[in-house]
């Protein structure tokens, strides 16, 4: 029982990185960014290749952040500089990334057990070597998720962060402040996709594998977690959006765990999960689209 909670928590915390990314584009920038489905496996692809080539596991995270940022930059430039519609810009990047990911890591790539990941490498062992692998994964995932959350909170409180929040809220105001709203959006997309790619990298470390199709459905996952999280804490204004989406991510994975655990026919899984989401949303008294555009 405790084990299952722990493994669900690990999943929720790791995938929370994707939720952070989608939170920035969808909730803050009001930009439906579909490049996520491509930048997530991109992070994993780069990580898998670097790990198998003996790169320092911690550095792979940095590499993933960089390539993710680049992917976000692509979507941003396509939208802001080439004036392509937001939805379409994301689709273009996502489509291109599918081929790029195949070029980087092939259709799939497994990282052997002899290769150290961030969960087994020296510094991690030095700090948490006394813990079991599962608990170590939990601690590392928790540290990363909390660190990113705190960094984001701190960023949102800076002048640059305020401007980013302003551009999604009211782009006219940003222009009135003599700032190019396009560049602000671009920055938001860069940050978002960097986080999503970091999520992909963590998944690659955790599962020791990359698959070209692993990005499918990540946008939907991200949206669901943002909506669940924001809906749950709507009445508690002191709860930050970043906290809400972490909880949303964990809850999403918990919904799946519960659905799995109810022992229902495997093919009914998605239906059960959908019903659980609906219950969460109805119970918190508000439907998804209202939250997003609130």
């Amino acid at each position: 029982m405790l084990d299952l909670l722990v493994s669900t928590l690990i999943q929720g915390l790791i995938y929370a990185l994707v939720s952070f990314g989608v939170y920035i584009t969808y909730s803050i920038l009001d930009f439906p960014d579909l490049s996520v489905d491509g930048s997530f496996p991109l992070g994993a692809a780069v990580t898998a290749v670097l790990l198998t080539r003996g790169c320092n596991p911690y550095l792979t995270l940095l590499a993933a952040i960089l390539v993710g940022a680049l992917a976000g930059l692509c979507t941003g430039v396509i939208h802001v500089k080439l004036h392509v519609r937001d939805l379409l810009s994301g689709i273009i990047t996502m489509t291109a990334l599918f081929s790029i990911n195949l070029q980087i890591a092939g259709s799939n790539l497994t990282v052997g057990r002899s290769v150290d990941t961030i969960f087994t490498a020296g510094p991690t062992m030095a700090l948490f070597g006394g813990l079991s692998l599962t608990n170590r994964k939990l601690v590392v995932a928790l540290i990363i998720a909390v660190a990113v959350k705190l960094l984001l909170d701190a960023f949102f409180a800076t002048k640059a962060g305020l401007l980013l929040r302003a551009v999604g809220d009211n782009a006219f105001l940003v222009t009135s402040l003599a700032k190019d709203k396009g560049n602000v959006k671009l920055a938001g997309l860069v940050i978002s996709n960097a986080l999503v790619a970091l999520g992909g990298a963590l998944v690659c470390h955790e599962t020791r594998s990359f698959s070209a199709t692993m990005g499918t459905g990540q946008v939907v996952f991200g949206l669901a977690t943002v909506i669940i999280g924001v809906a749950l804490f709507r009445r508690f204004s002191f709860v930050k959006g970043t906290t809400a989406v972490v909880v949303g991510s964990i809850l999403y994975k918990l919904c799946i765990a519960v659905a799995l655990d109810l022992g229902l026919p495997p093919n009914m899984m998605k239906l059960i999960t959908a019903v659980l989401f609906l219950l969460v949303l109805v119970a918190s008294g508000r439907k998804g689209e209202e939250i997003i555009h609130a």
């Binding site: 401007l163 809220d169 402040l177």
Partner: protein
């Protein structure tokens, strides 16, 4: 000084809906002048503001500020020394940010938006003082989200934000039109107070003929892309609402309205 020189603007050029609005339109505004502009819908009032702000492109002509052309500058670059308050109170502030965050953003206009703290705690007392000056009791609502304030309150804050940093030029685009009469009156008085106190150059488009007569030191009436009435100083002071209404009706009849 702001100069609009021989600006031509045609909407939908080369199509069946082609419509020429301005043909070599010129206007100059003295520093410190507060101009009220009236005119029927489609007379070119708002288009003029948009041309000055760079929100819409023109076919020819030039816009100069202090003798320097700003035609090549993008809209956001022009706003460095320009402020604008829109008709829709929602456009002047960010609804999901608190009033304090909104004011902090406005306070930082023209500077870089880097990684220093977004809200400067040392400025809070200054903001509070400015809000007190509005006389709307907003000074106690610094941590309230803008979206939960009324339209009039938001417009007052938008006005404050637009004029917080030094400006060459303030643009008021029917900024009282979406408010109820009482609130509109309050905002209009505040506007006048701020313009006079800060000695701003301002252009106000309004549908309210009384405001146009009562406020400002120059009055323009526009019709089909042309200035049909331009009164300054004493001549403006002697203009009555009835004078305006007579002219306005005459124009409207010519237009077939």
């Amino acid at each position: 000084m702001l100069e609009v020189q021989e600006v031509s603007k045609t909407y939908n050029p080369g199509t069946v809906t082609e419509q020429c609005l301005f043909d070599k339109f010129s206007l100059s505004v003295e520093d410190g002048q507060f101009i009220s502009i009236v005119g029927s819908n489609g007379s070119g009032k708002t288009s003029l503001l948009n041309i000055i702000c760079g929100s819409i492109p023109v076919q020819s002509g030039d816009v100069l500020v202090g003798g320097e052309s700003i035609s090549r500058k993008k809209d956001f670059q022009r706003y460095i020394t320009m402020g604008r308050v829109y008709q829709n109170p929602a456009l002047g502030t960010c609804p999901n940010l608190t009033m304090l965050e909104n004011l902090s953003l406005a306070d930082n206009k023209g500077k870089s938006f880097g990684f220093s703290r977004g809200v400067n705690k040392k400025r809070i007392n200054y903001y509070r003082g400015e809000l007190e000056g509005l006389g709307l009791g907003l000074e106690d609502k610094l941590n309230v989200k803008m979206g939960s304030l009324s339209g009039g309150q938001r417009q007052a804050v938008a006005l404050l934000m637009a004029t917080m940093t030094p400006l060459n030029f303030l643009i008021l685009d029917e900024h009282t039109a979406a408010l109820d009469p009482k609130t509109a009156e309050v905002i209009m008085q505040l506007t006048n107070k701020i313009i006079r106190e800060k000695r701003l150059t301002a252009m106000m488009v309004t549908h309210n003929l009384r405001y146009a007569v009562e406020y400002g030191d120059r009055l323009l009436m526009m019709d089909r892309g042309q200035v049909v009435l331009d009164r300054v100083g004493a001549e403006k002071q002697s203009t009555s609402i009835d004078d305006l209404l007579t002219l306005f009706n005459k124009i409207s009849i010519e237009c077939g309205n």
